[in-house]
Amino acid sequence: MTTQLGHLRRTPPVSSGTETASAGTTACAAATQPRRHSGAITTRRHGVRYWGVMALLGGLSVFFTAGILGYDNPMPFGSDGYWLIARMRVETVLVIGVVVFCQAMATVSFQTATNNRIITPSIMGFESLYVAIQTGAVFFFGIAGITLVTGLPQFLMQAGAMVLFATILYTWLLSGKFSNIHIMLLVGVVIGGGLGSLSTFMQRVLTPSEFDVLTARLFGNIGNARGEYLPYAIPIALAAAGVLWLRARRLNVVALGRNTADNLGVDHRREVMIILALVSVLMAMSTSLVGPMTFLGFLVATLAYQFADTYSHRMLFPMAMLIGYTVLAGAYFIMRNIFYAQGAVTLIIELIGGIVFLIVLMRKGRL
């Protein structure tokens, strides 16, 4: 008995390997069975399915990228003009990539930190703040106001304001006597709702033309994204995501909840604050670039959990990104080339994405 249990013992084992057949416990099976392993991939089938889905999504991503770059190009293939037009469209692909990258990383990390798979960063008042800033500019300065919130310093200031807002909210609510994630979420939802109502009120008193200009800004809009922000948004997003990637193993533990994480020696409160600060950076990048994308993050994260079926964030993140890219690039391609309405990609994401989401959820019956 002592022999097989030797490794679990805190004191050194008495002997080793001399009386292996004793007691007939299951412990000795460990030596004879094929190697038992833990790891994020449970069975061969799981691994095949994961990489199969990844390959399929990769293929679709390449297909839609090629479609966006090359489809409906009026110049003959191979001519200088053809490549000129294709190069101009690269910016769109980059915007889609950055937005999806930010939304996927942010939503998965946020849901891990909050131990909840229903709420998303959008609910926490991020996008309401963006809408309030934009609406406020038009409300106070008229149509000219929209130019006041457009430009590189404004981009950085707006992103900074959003990060500041989120970080203050999180640190205030997570340290001190509340230290309760549910209260934080409730306050976030209330602030988000309040800002939303304020924006709605201001929109009511705008002139129709001002309202029209504003609506164009507030719709999640890939085609109208500000490309000049990209050189700043990309490195910032990469840096924030890089930190999350490096902490992925801790994220796996944080996902088990406060008690388990603390038991395993991971300072849950500190980790959650770090994660939420990084999430706010990513969300600020995405929102400043294209405006609110309320449903995208939720859809992408939920589908990633379903298809990846693992606790490992290093498997979830790439899956979520590829799903997001396929969905957003696909929606953009379809809206642009079939409905000639590239402005309204969020419509198709919410329609198609919502249906796919419901189907997957109904079939599996769990989040």
Partner: protein, 256 residues
């Protein structure tokens, strides 16, 4: 040894009429064997256990486990000395039994499981008779099996001290007895010090080496089951008329 010095916890604002205080508690829990924390609802058993496991902040006093101050020492260090399992365990992540138990090795490997870790995991799983179930997902298990998987996780953590908050909750007769027998083996064969909050005084009497009785936030009795299993002592602790009779496996408290 687990050593508590003037440990206190205040619920509600100090001085308010509804303020509830746990403590001050000063007690030494010896290393080795099973120590059961018993007492009526609201006596502070879980609070004390959770504070020892540093999941709850201590308002006053000092808690040392094997010479380490649990508040001041790095959480990482403590995670190799003691493990704690609370009552409510619900994970949003979908995990297999083996993956869950594997997380118990996090303090040692920081998530990069070595062969050594894998061996500990296998042994903890085998120890709790979960070998056949190790590939199953937690949501495919019964309550009793899931409870065993949680205990396997804290055993795989390989700590000298194992703290369990009412592990028999929601377990039927058979599973409760099995769980206590497995914990008994963990103490006897693996040399772990098990501190456990129990609701049923008879389970405590049958399986533990020491009983720590709490009432109104303070320790009122601390001794062997034979010392605690007395009519007068139990009646005082639980505020209920209790008669101790001699049962087939030791003294039994009758209070129905």
């Amino acid at each position: 040894m687990i050593s508590l010095t003037e440990v206190a916890k205040n619920y509600g604002s100090a001085g308010a009429s509804d303020a509830v205080a746990i403590g001050p508690v000063s007690v030494d829990i010896a290393a080795g064997g099973i120590t059961a924390l018993v007492g009526p609802n609201g006596a502070g058993k879980s609070t004390i256990l959770t504070m020892i496991g540093r999941l709850l902040d201590v308002d006053a006093g000092r808690i040392e486990v094997a010479g380490h101050d649990v508040v001041k020492s790095p959480s990482k260090t403590i995670a190799k000395i003691l493990s704690i399992l609370r009552q409510e365990n619900h994970f949003v992540t979908r995990l297999t039994v083996r993956q869950l138990v594997g997380f118990g090795r996090f303090p040692h490997s920081q998530g990069r499981l070595t062969h050594e870790d894998e061996r500990h995991i296998s042994e903890a799983i085998d120890f709790l008779d979960l070998t056949a179930l190790e590939g199953r997902y937690l949501d495919q298990l019964s309550g009793g099996q899931r409870q065993r998987a949680y205990v396997a996780m804290v055993l795989a953590q390989g700590t000298d001290y194992v703290l369990l908050d009412e592990p028999l909750n929601n377990l039927d007769m058979q599973h409760a007895v099995q769980m206590m027998q497995q914990l008994r083996r963990a103490a006897d064969e693996l040399g772990r010090t098990v501190v456990i909050v129990l609701h049923d005084i008879n389970f405590a009497a049958r399986y533990s080496d020491r009983i720590l009785a709490m009432k109104d936030g303070v320790v009122v009795e601390h001794g062997t089951p034979a010392e605690i299993m007395q009519d007068a002592v139990l009646t005082r602790v639980f505020d209920t008329e209790v008669t101790v009779i001699e049962g087939p496996g030791g003294p039994l408290a009758v209070y129905y």
